[in-house]
């Protein structure tokens, strides 16, 4: 299993699950589908289908404007 933090909230997922599953577990998927971006530990944007590593930290950031 993996422990992931989404905006500080800890969620547990089975290995092989993705960013999308972490957002579902944290109740945050809707925000991202509405336009917010997901940022990893190093400040890079990640896609919803991106693989996760145990201990990963994700932040949800509202989009400042059109990319």
């Amino acid at each position: 299993m993996m422990e992931i933090r989404v905006d500080g909230r800890r969620v547990t997922l089975a290995r092989g699950m993705t960013v999308r599953h972490a957002l579902i577990a944290a109740g945050a998927l809707e925000r991202v589908l509405a336009g917010a971006r997901v940022i990893d530990t190093w400040g890079s944007e990640v896609g919803l289908d991106g693989a996760l590593d145990d201990g990963d930290t994700l932040r949800i950031v509202e989009r400042a404007g059109p990319r």
Binding site: M1, M17, H21, S44, D49, R67
Partner: protein, 510 residues
């Protein structure tokens, strides 16, 4: 007109490339990862405009190649994902990559999703090698290649994620052994160094693991990654290794410019170019995309079987339905589970009695859901059922459709105390007993508020991978590479005619 402009741009590009000093060479590496068959431009959530489009990306590749020695590399997960790719088991992607002139591709976990025979077929079609040095037992895959570019010998070694057995159906990895990537690399680096001036690692490990690898293993000049779909806009240098990754779905192309002097890298700069459907697409690739689009439409129009009854979706958020029974039975049987439970909201359209086409099933089950089976206690299963019926008056999408179990509930009772009798496999539910319950990944992650699956995963510990088969105390089955709709199509094709009915699995009581 476009050809003229392109020629002028190409000429300008040649002039802009810094002149090589004696003994100095300029090389370019273009890279892509996690394409997942997104051939057409698409608008991701929140984006102001469409991004991607493989024919537009191909045009950019063509322009960036002009004037200097270039490698075009893919860091895995290219052939599975979007219907455009799945409906041809990745053949459309390979033809596209052949036309673009890819030099090599690392093996991603999703390359195995269609099984080893299909992978072997794709490898035969490809005019470039599939690379994975840390995988034993897979014939079509090579560990590395060495190419000479502008007088510089470049080794490209592939690495697959050792978590592949947890990220695809166990049958797809039967007989394969995945070694720790750092061990593989340390073992092969001396051999690579003897044969080359420059070592490029093409990895499908995820950005966190790729950072660790760059930190731990000396002697890598460039590490191009994938798997985590990370948009590494400004590739960092970690312990002397340039670390890059180009997001996902063909929305960006990675560009790495290297200066090599006397067989040593003296300059390495990476960047991402976002791909937009502007300008002219590369015509050959555009034609390939259109041809496979048409083929995908043909497949969607093909007969799958016959429905002996109308499959009901209108009541799936408030009652047992025959469509829900069919899908729940499929989940339970496929996973070999005691029971199955999924959310009625996963069913989006009914299917009329008569001939059923693949497109009907794609419309009914549009989400990219896959099958997961979780070992959970009877108490947790009961809690899941309580949650499922807690908002039945709102016709919430969480309402359960079930198989292998039956239950009664009182909709007028307070939420959380509505479920009455539960029977699993014909016997009364035992709160302390462990049951294997098949569901969808959406619910296993806690979707629609189902917390019980996550609780079971949390209390159950980790996976084990033994000889390519996955076992773990919580996850009994997981097949992330096969969408539910594809599972149903295959099942219907085998059965011919399906006429599911109502069986009293969910009963309302006063």
């Amino acid at each position: 007109m476009f050809a003229h402009v392109a020629a002028v741009l190409a000429a300008l590009l040649i002039l802009l490339v810094p002149p090589a000093r004696a003994g100095q060479e300029h090389l370019r590496i273009l890279h892509l990862n996690d394409f997942h068959g997104f051939a057409r431009p698409h608008q991701p959530p929140g984006a102001a405009e469409p991004l991607g489009g493989i024919a537009y990306l191909a045009a950019r590749v063509q322009a960036l190649r002009a004037g200097q020695p270039t490698l075009l590399l893919a860091a895995g997960d290219m052939i599975q994902g979007h219907n455009w790719a799945n409906l041809t088991r990745g053949a459309a992607v390979i033809e596209t990559m052949n036309a673009m002139g890819f030099d090599a591709m690392a093996l991603g976990n999703h390359e195995l999703d269609f099984g080893q025979p299909a992978l072997a077929e794709r490898a035969r079609e490809a005019r470039f090698p599939f690379l994975a040095a840390n995988v034993e037992g897979l014939d079509p895959v090579r560990p590395y290649i060495v190419r000479t570019l502008g007088g510089v010998r470049v080794a490209v070694i592939g690495l697959a994620t050792p978590e592949t057995p947890q990220a695809t159906h166990p049958g797809n990895v039967a007989g394969l052994r995945f070694e720790d990537p750092a061990l593989t690399l340390r073992r092969l680096l001396p051999e690579l160094r003897r044969q080359s001036d420059l070592v490029v690692v093409l990895a499908h490990l995820g950005h966190a693991a790729e950072r660790r690898l760059a930190q731990e293993v000396e002697g890598i000049d460039v590490l191009i990654g994938g798997h985590s779909h990370t948009r590494v806009a400004e590739p960092p240098t970690i312990a002397g290794t340039l670390l890059a990754q180009a997001w996902e779905h063909g929305k960006a192309l990675g560009v790495i410019d290297l200066t090599v002097e006397d067989g040593r890298v003296v300059g390495a700069v990476g960047r991402l170019e976002e791909i937009r459907p502007a300008g002219a697409p590369q015509p050959e690739v555009e034609a390939i995309v259109a041809r496979w689009d048409a083929r995908a439409q043909e497949v969607l129009g093909q007969r799958v079987g016959e429905a002996g009854a109308d499959l009901d979706v209108r009541n799936a958020r408030s009652a047992e339905t025959n469509f829900g029974n069919l899908v729940a039975d499929l989940l339970r049987r496929t996973a070999g589970a005691d029971a199955a439970l999924f959310n009625g909201g996963a069913l989006r359209a009914g299917i009329r009695r008569g001939t059923v086409k693949a497109g009907d099933i794609y419309t009914a089950l549009p989400f990219d859901n896959y099958l997961v089976a979780v070992r959970m206690s009877g108490r947790q299963l009961l809690a899941a059922l309580e949650h499922g019926v807690a908002a039945v008056e709102r016709r919430d999408g969480r309402f359960p459709q079930v198989s292998g179990l039956s239950f009664s509930y009182a909709p007028a009772a307070a939420p959380g105390a509505r479920v009455r009798q539960v029977r699993v496999g014909g016997a009364a539910l035992e709160p302390a007993r462990t049951y294997v319950v098949a569901t969808l990944d959406f619910l296993a992650a806690g979707g629609d508020g189902y917390a019980g699956f996550g609780e079971a995963i949390r209390s159950g510990g980790d996976f084990e991978s033994v000889g390519g088969a996955v076992s773990g105390s919580a996850i009994a089955y997981s097949d992330p590479g096969r969408w539910l709709r594809d599972l149903l199509i295959e099942y219907w094709q085998r059965q011919g005619t399906l006429a599911p009915g109502l069986e009293g699995r969910i009963v309302e009581v006063e």
